[in-house]
Every structure is written in structure tokens, then in C-alpha cells.
């Protein structure tokens, strides 16, 4: 699944074909379709969230705080703030 996610967002067609085949051989043909559906949907929904500034719900943020810190998601938000600060400084 992780390999399929990485391959579908990348540019290496051979890698994607191998990942697709692995899902097919392990979970069946329908699993390839469902995996493509989910990956496609989240590739889109991430763009909706990131371009509209949709905040994470407070209860979800609290429940996932430790995990988010551990896997580095918090760093993405901090980087956005740094980018905005740098842009503001450059404009001044």
C-alpha cells in the first residue's frame, strides 16, 4: 500500500506497474481499483485542504497530537508559518 502510494504520486511508470501488480497478486484485481480510487481521492482532497486553509478539528488534533509530532506532520505547519514570515520580510 505504501509503495503504491509513493509510486502513484511519482513519475516512474515501471515502479507503479510493480506496485500495482503486487496489490493485484496479494489482494486481487478489485483491490487495485479501490486503491487507485482512494489514492486519487486523497491526492485531490489534500489540495482542497491546503488551498482553503481547512483547519484540523480540535478533537482530532488532540487525539493525534503525539502521532503528528512523531511522524513530523507538525513540521509542515511550522514551515508554512516560516514561509509566510519570510515572504512578509522580503516584501518589507
Amino acid at each position: 500500500m505504501i509503495e503504491f502510494a509513493e509510486a502513484i504520486l511519482g513519475d516512474d511508470d515501471d515502479r507503479l506497474q510493480v506496485a500495482r501488480r503486487a496489490i493485484h497478486d496479494t489482494l486481487g484485481a478489485d483491490a487495485v481499483v479501490d486503491s487507485a480510487g482512494v489514492a486519487g481521492l486523497f491526492n485531490a482532497i489534500d489540495r482542497i485542504a491546503d488551498s482553503t486553509g481547512a483547519p484540523l478539528e480540535a478533537d482530532k488534533a488532540e487525539m493525534t497530537a503525539a502521532l503528528r509530532e512523531e511522524i513530523g506532520i507538525d513540521a509542515f505547519a511550522a514551515r508554512k508559518e516560516a514561509l509566510d514570515a519570510a515572504a512578509k520580510t522580503a516584501a518589507e
Partner: protein, 245 residues
């Protein structure tokens, strides 16, 4: 009108996915709330074109996406500020900032148009990535249809914590009562400044991912991959996109 079919796919595609994508293609070809059908199909085309833009490639590897000021390689005659917006959302969504949002609006794109453009990009991305996933070429774009935008803006939409105005889960009016069903989710509010776009996108979501009730029903599996496998895949895609939601 070009219909989506997957006759060339080595995998049998679920009928509900085909139907949802056909409905999406049909909606995208017609005038929306703020954009004409012609503009919507051009946004779809520009979304695809952005994937091969040399400036976008530079942006991905730059320390700041705003440090690159080269013009984007436009594939349509859409206004330059639309092209800039589309290309950055396609190329580097994880580094979009509130400052970028405000600057984009200041360039002359009203929030209503902004949301509709985001929605068209998202629809195109979801359906194109699906095609890539099953190993077939992207489907032909629909032919734009005549018609005028409705200019419908729900009076309940206002500024909240998100950058873009939206309707709060407990503030919807009668026109949107069909949409605000089930537990609150900020992502479902994100496009509600243009309610038909929110409805349309989550129609595709129900087929390609899961419907709201299916998401929360762990007593049954609804796909050929389990809830756990679905969430693992979704989480990895979102992490690669550096999505903080």
C-alpha cells in the same frame, strides 16, 4: 459531451465509480455557480498542463515556492493570475500559505471563484490520478457546454478559522440542508461557499473512497481493501503531499 468509460482498463471498474465520474464530467462541462462551462474545462486542461510545467518543477525544489518568479508555461488562455493559482495548487500544495491565499485574492480572484477553481482542480486530480492508478491514460476532457453561472452565494457562508469563507456545520440554511448531514468535518465545509462544488466533490469521494456512514462503520468492509488499508494508503498520500489536515 464526452462520457467516461474504462473499456481499455485491464481491471473492471466498479459501476458506482464510473457513474460518479460521469456525473462529475457532466457537471464540470456546464456553467457552475461562478465560472462558465468553457472556463471550467479550461481549468481542467490547465490542471493537466501544470504537471509538465518547467517553472512548477523548479518551484518543487526551491527553498521557498514564492522565490521562483519565472512565468508558468500556460496551456490555455486563462488569465495569468488563474494560471499561477492553478499551477501552484497542482505543483506544491503542501507549501501554500495564508499569505499566498490573500495575495491570490488580491490579484483579482474573488473567494467564490477561488473555491470553484479549487473544486475543478480537485475533481480533475481525483479522476486523473485514479486513471493513472489502474494503468490507463487520462480520460478525454468533456466538451464545454453553453450556459451562464448561477451566481449563487449562500448567505450563511462567512469567515471562520479556515482561510476561505464557508458554512458552519450548525449554520446552514434550507438550501443546503441536504448536504450538512452526519458528524461535522472541516474538510466537508471547505467548499461550501459554492455548495454545488461541495456536493459534487463528495459525490466522487463516496465512490472512490467511502460514504460518510461507511467511513464510520467498522463492523463491515465495503471495499476490496479494509478500512485499515484504506487509511494507511490515504495517510501516506497525504504525508507525501505534506498535507497538514
Amino acid at each position: 459531451m464526452v462520457e467516461i468509460v474504462y473499456d481499455d482498463s485491464p481491471y473492471a471498474v466498479r459501476e458506482d465509480i464510473v457513474s460518479a465520474q460521469q456525473r462529475a464530467w457532466s457537471r464540470l462541462s456546464q456553467a457552475g455557480s461562478w465560472l462558465t462551462g468553457d472556463e471550467r474545462v479550461k481549468v481542467m486542461a490547465e490542471t493537466r498542463h501544470a504537471r509538465t510545467c518547467a517553472t512548477c518543477e523548479k518551484i518543487k525544489y526551491a527553498l521557498s515556492p514564492f522565490a521562483i518568479t519565472d512565468p508558468h508555461d500556460a496551456g490555455t488562455d486563462l488569465p495569468e493570475n488563474w494560471v499561477n493559482m492553478i499551477h501552484l495548487i497542482v505543483a506544491d500544495p503542501g507549501r501554500l500559505t495564508h499569505g499566498w491565499y490573500k495575495k491570490t485574492l488580491d490579484s483579482g480572484i474573488p473567494a467564490t471563484h477561488f473555491i470553484e477553481i479549487v473544486s475543478v482542480i480537485a475533481h480533475t486530480t481525483a479522476i486523473d490520478t485514479f486513471a493513472k492508478g489502474i494503468g490507463v491514460p487520462v480520460r478525454a476532457l468533456p466538451k464545454a457546454e453553453e450556459g451562464e453561472p448561477s451566481h449563487y452565494r449562500p448567505k450563511e457562508a462567512r469567515q471562520h478559522q479556515a482561510w476561505a469563507p464557508n458554512i458552519a456545520w450548525d449554520e446552514f440554511g434550507p438550501n443546503e440542508a441536504d448536504y450538512f448531514v452526519g458528524p461535522e468535518a472541516n474538510i466537508r465545509r471547505a467548499l461550501t461557499l459554492v455548495p454545488d462544488e461541495a456536493r459534487g466533490f463528495f459525490d466522487v469521494a463516496s465512490a472512490q473512497y467511502l460514504s460518510g456512514p461507511q467511513m464510520r462503520d467498522f463492523s463491515e468492509e465495503f471495499r476490496a481493501i479494509t478500512h485499515l488499508q484504506i487509511e494507511l494508503l490515504a495517510a501516506r498520500v497525504s504525508a507525501l503531499n505534506q498535507c497538514t489536515y
